[in-house]
């Protein structure tokens, strides 16, 4: 309880300080509580953000509370990246940020200013699938397909990181990608196959 009070106190403080800036521009006395909040929000909920997604530049205005995942899905409309838990447990939301795999649910959109993001939609070269995508199909490395974008993005990174030399190593380095349908053995085979083929990932 006390903790809550503390929190709300701190929140109120932030709100008030931000409100000061906002209200210096808006004639506050004319607004009702809800409208006042809305007016304040128009200032604080619009953070500018520039980044590159799948090779394309984007200039966005985002809610600072928005995760990279929600930005991709709800604002940019790239729904290939999936939300499976929003807590960093399942790995469905893995994308590449500047070449590294990242749980996009655990990073705020605004933290990625200037970053180069690759999502599952950006993996294929036009109609030519990425070797990992092909391998996943050939090895039937999914059933429902929901965790698949995250598994594939993670798998590509796993090979790039040089951590795909044996089934044991692959399992370890794919440890943060959950597949509830249980396609694990097929996923490991797909990754090994790509690694052994020497295909460029």
């Amino acid at each position: 309880m006390d903790q809550n009070k503390d929190c709300s106190g701190r929140r109120d403080f932030i709100k008030k300080t931000t409100a000061l800036t906002a209200l210096s521009i808006v004639p506050a006395s004319l607004l009702k509580a809800g409208e006042k909040n809305e007016a304040i929000a128009t200032f604080i909920e619009k953070a500018p953000l520039k980044l590159e997604i799948n090779g394309k530049p984007y200039s966005l205005t985002v809610d600072p509370r928005m995760s990279l995942l929600d930005m991709l899905r709800e604002q940019v409309g790239l729904t290939g990246t999936k939300k499976g838990c929003d807590q960093g447990h399942c790995g469905s939301c893995i994308v590449h940020v500047d070449g590294k795999r990242v749980n996009s649910c655990l990073t705020l959109a605004t933290e990625n200013n200037g970053a180069k993001i690759t999502t599952i939609e950006g993996l294929a070269d036009g109609d030519n699938l990425h070797p990992m995508q092909e391998a996943f199909i050939r090895h039937d490395a999914f059933q429902c397909g929901y965790c698949t974008p995250g598994q594939i993005m993670s798998a590509v990174a796993c090979v790039k990181e040089g951590k795909a030399n044996s089934p044991e190593e692959i399992k370890e380095y794919m440890g943060s990608n959950i597949c509830r349908c249980g396609a694990y053995p097929n996923i490991v085979e797909a990754i090994l196959d790509v690694k052994k083929s020497g295909a460029k990932v």
Binding site: N37, D63, C85, I137, E172, G175, R180, G182, N186
Partner: protein
């Protein structure tokens, strides 16, 4: 409906999934990926008590929060026609099964019950505002402790008994075992969280995107709820990201999204969070089982007694087939079973993969193993000595049963001959080694399915049915069945699903899709062939004086049986007949000889475990899953499904357990970090094997289901192997390392 996105750059094998490219490119649209224009977001506020009533809802802060459009709760929720009290016939016992109602009164029935839905123009705003809603409660004493309460007979609801021969006859046998088995709550936890997007057009037309295993079921329920004609409710389930039973019914978030969309006059998207996946969409109930089983020196079972209790909620009586297999899997003259449920103040359970049968098999197959050791007999031998060839309850022969073949192959593949005769006596590299097996049985049902076939002048065949596919690969299998029946290349066939605008198909559950829907596909294709033959006779000169039974349809042509040179291509035929396309709808039903045979799928699982004697950690040396699922239509996807069942079995055996805090009634580990589903590192190489023998009594493909049997019995195989490795009998799941050492 981009099931068949084909990449021109790559030719995949006939075995690969038809929706593979959509799934690996991110193009597959799951419910929460849909983005109707003008959509807003709903976030639930859930109860923080287990039982009682809401005294007051404190909403002003949330209402004033930016972007909030509406907050729906019991005080402002409009009347939902289907939510009005059900006129129950007082003479009729039984329970109300009309769905769980939402926002209808101030009562709280479990922790995590949705009590308000905050709708705002962005998800972040809705989420923030939902944190500002506070509820004040009048609390009541509640009951959530299954282990304690199941011992109180007055709290149990009897759900039936069965008796064949003499009761408790096992006690008179030369050898007998009495033991009890406990299985905790397990949650489906598909990686796609349940989601619903509701879109109203005016007051009487509703389109709903929903994560559902049965779009038709969702459609009827919503039509009934909102007093609409079924044709005015369209349910779209293009892709479903796993479900394992959680999508068999519509949970309260589905009508909630519809209520909200109606109130705010905009499409509303509601996506559950992982915490709500524990408290709002069902789970495998906790169970306690007691088995007495006895056999005589000749190895013949003399009696089985099986009592079971599983939990339900206070609102609904959920029951499942937990004691069924004990009645009929083995030949045994004396069997008695009883089943009771214990209502608790938690959310309602539901069927989870291999539903009650998986719980029951854990007890039965472990007890048989214990009995075999007592008799100094090989556990497989004991099963073979009591192999039933006639269904012991229904006294009917099985339409097909190749369980013996499963035993034989499993023994071979797992290396059963290396099994130590004395538990705890074999070590490999310092690890204790043990072998164990366990099996299962499940109904091989077939129901009604309507399928539409559209053959176009360009020679392409489209099939449509209102079903959904939670992952097994329905469209892939159906495409294969159509290709086989039509004897045409499967690349020219597209199977479309996930839309109630298509003819009514079955709910995907109970291992019946291939049989039921495949039966429908097969029938509509046969009918299409009949029409094509008639068209050929009527419109193609070369067939003029022939009869339909003198013709064949194959290789995209109508062919005269007597002279293979007399042919007409389907394309040309449709042109000649002046038809752009040929469209047929057919509905197929259950098997014709359903009353003459018992119909089941069977499985036998074999594992080799390696147990660390210091830490109790269990690793798998080898896993072999065998299943009699009739003829396997699509070997690649069927293998994957068997692997998936084994993986879920590994979770059931070793790690999965949803814990309830009995001080609050809340789930303690309601996230994927604390509820441990198997990860890459937990899963060994798994070998699957099918007898692959057709059962044409059930359907023209000869197929039976495998979704459930892939899991049923698996946990018992692990427990039995752990005993063989360590000499320690574990009768409570999950088998934790600290219990093993």
């Amino acid at each position: 409906m981009d099931n068949n996105i084909k990449s021109p750059a790559i030719q995949f094998a006939d075995d690969d999934r038809v929706d593979g490219i959509a799934k690996v490119t991110g193009r597959a649209k799951y419910t929460a990926d849909q983005r109707p224009d003008n959509m807003v977001y709903g976030v639930f506020v859930t109860s923080t008590i287990a039982k009682g009533a809401i005294k007051n809802m404190v909403l002003h802060k949330a209402k004033d929060a930016p972007g909030v459009i509406e907050i729906i709760h019991y005080l402002n929720c409009p009347e939902v026609p289907g939510h009005t009290p059900y006129k129950k016939d007082p003479a009729k016992k039984g329970y109300e099964w009309r769905g769980l109602k939402i926002f209808q009164n101030n009562l709280v029935h479990h922790f995590g019950q949705p009590i308000a839905l905050v709708v705002a123009d962005t998800w972040e705003r809705a989420l923030h505002a939902s944190s500002l809603v506070k509820a004040e409660y009048i609390t009541e004493a509640f009951e959530t402790d299954f282990d304690k309460l199941r011992k109180d007979e007055s709290k149990l609801k009897p759900m039936g008994t069965y008796k064949r021969g003499e009761e408790n006859a096992y006690k008179k046998a030369d050898f007998y075992v009495e033991a009890e088995y406990d299985i905790p709550i397990e949650t489906h936890n598909p990686i796609e969280m349940h989601a619903t997007i509701a879109v109203w057009e005016g007051d009487n037309k509703l389109t709903v995107y929903d994560k559902s295993q049965g779009p038709k079921g969702t459609q009827s329920e919503l039509a009934r709820n909102f007093g609409l004609e079924e044709k005015n409710v369209r349910v779209i389930t293009e892709y479903v990201g796993g479900a394992f039973g959680s999508g068999l019914r519509s949970w309260p978030h589905v009508p909630a999204a519809c209520i909200a969309a109606k109130m705010v006059k905009r499409p509303v998207k509601v996506v559950l969070n992982r915490r709500q996946m524990f408290s709002m969409v069902g789970y495998r109930p906790q169970s306690w089982q007691w088995i007495g089983i006895g056999a005589n020196k000749d190895g013949k079972l003399a009696g089985i007694t099986h009592h079971a209790i599983s939990n339900s909620s206070r609102l609904e009586d959920f029951r499942e087939g937990i004691v069924n297999a004990s009645q009929y899997l083995y030949e045994c003259p004396n069997v008695n079973t009883s089943y009771k449920i214990l209502p608790l103040d938690i959310n309602t359970p539901t069927w989870m993969r291999g539903p009650g049968e998986a719980s029951g098999a854990f007890a039965l197959e472990c007890a048989l193993d214990e009995l075999a050791y007592k008799m100094n007999m090989d556990p497989v031998e004991l099963r073979i000595r009591n192999y039933a060839t006639v269904h012991p309850v229904r006294k009917l022969p099985w339409s097909s049963k190749y369980l013996k073949e499963c035993y034989e192959t499993g023994i071979e593949k797992v290396g059963w001959k290396n099994r130590p005769a004395v538990p705890g006596s074999l070590k490999e590299n310092g690890m204790l080694v043990g072998y164990g097996m366990g099996g299962g049985v499940f109904g091989a049902g077939r129901g009604n399915a309507a399928v539409k076939a559209i053959l176009s002048q360009d020679g392409k065949l489209v099939l449509q049915s209102a079903v959904s596919d939670m992952g097994p690969g329905t469209a892939t299998t159906m495409t294969k069945i159509a290709a086989e029946t039509m004897q045409m290349p499967q690349q020219k066939i597209t199977f479309m699903l996930g839309d109630t605008d298509f003819p009514p198909g079955p709910t995907q559950g109970g291992s019946t899709t291939t049989s039921t829907l495949g039966g429908g596909v097969s029938l509509v294709c046969e009918e299409l062939k009949k029409h094509l033959k008639e068209l050929a006779i009527a419109h193609a000169d070369s067939f003029k004086n022939m009869k339909a039974d003198e013709l064949d349809v194959k290789n995209e042509k109508v062919v005269a049986k007597a002279d293979a040179a007399v042919t007409i291509s389907l394309t040309e035929l449709l042109q000649k007949a002046g038809k752009q396309q040929l469209e047929i709808v057919k509905e197929s039903g259950g098997p014709a000889e359903a009353s003459k045979y018992a119909m089941n799928s069977f499985s036998a699982h074999f594992v080799k475990v390696l147990v660390n004697p210091q830490t109790g950690e269990i690793k798998f040396g080898k896993v072999v899953v065998t299943g009699d699922g009739g003829r396997i239509v699509s070997e690649k996807t069927a293998r994957s499904q068997m692997l998936g069942g084994a993986v879920m079995g590994i979770g059931m055996a070793l790690t999965e357990e949803a814990l309830i805090d009995h001080k609050t009634g809340n789930y303690l580990n309601n996230n994927l970090g604390d509820y441990h589903v198997p990860l890459h590192t937990d899963v060994p190489e798994i070998e699957s094997w099918f007898p692959n023998k057709p059962d044409f009594i059930i359907n023209p493909m000869g197929s039976k289901g495998i979704g459930e049997i892939s899991l049923i019995g698996f946990a018992s195989a692990v427990a039995n192997a752990v005993y063989n490795a360590t000499g320690k009998r574990i009768r409570r799941l999950p088998i934790k390392p600290e219990i093993v050492v």
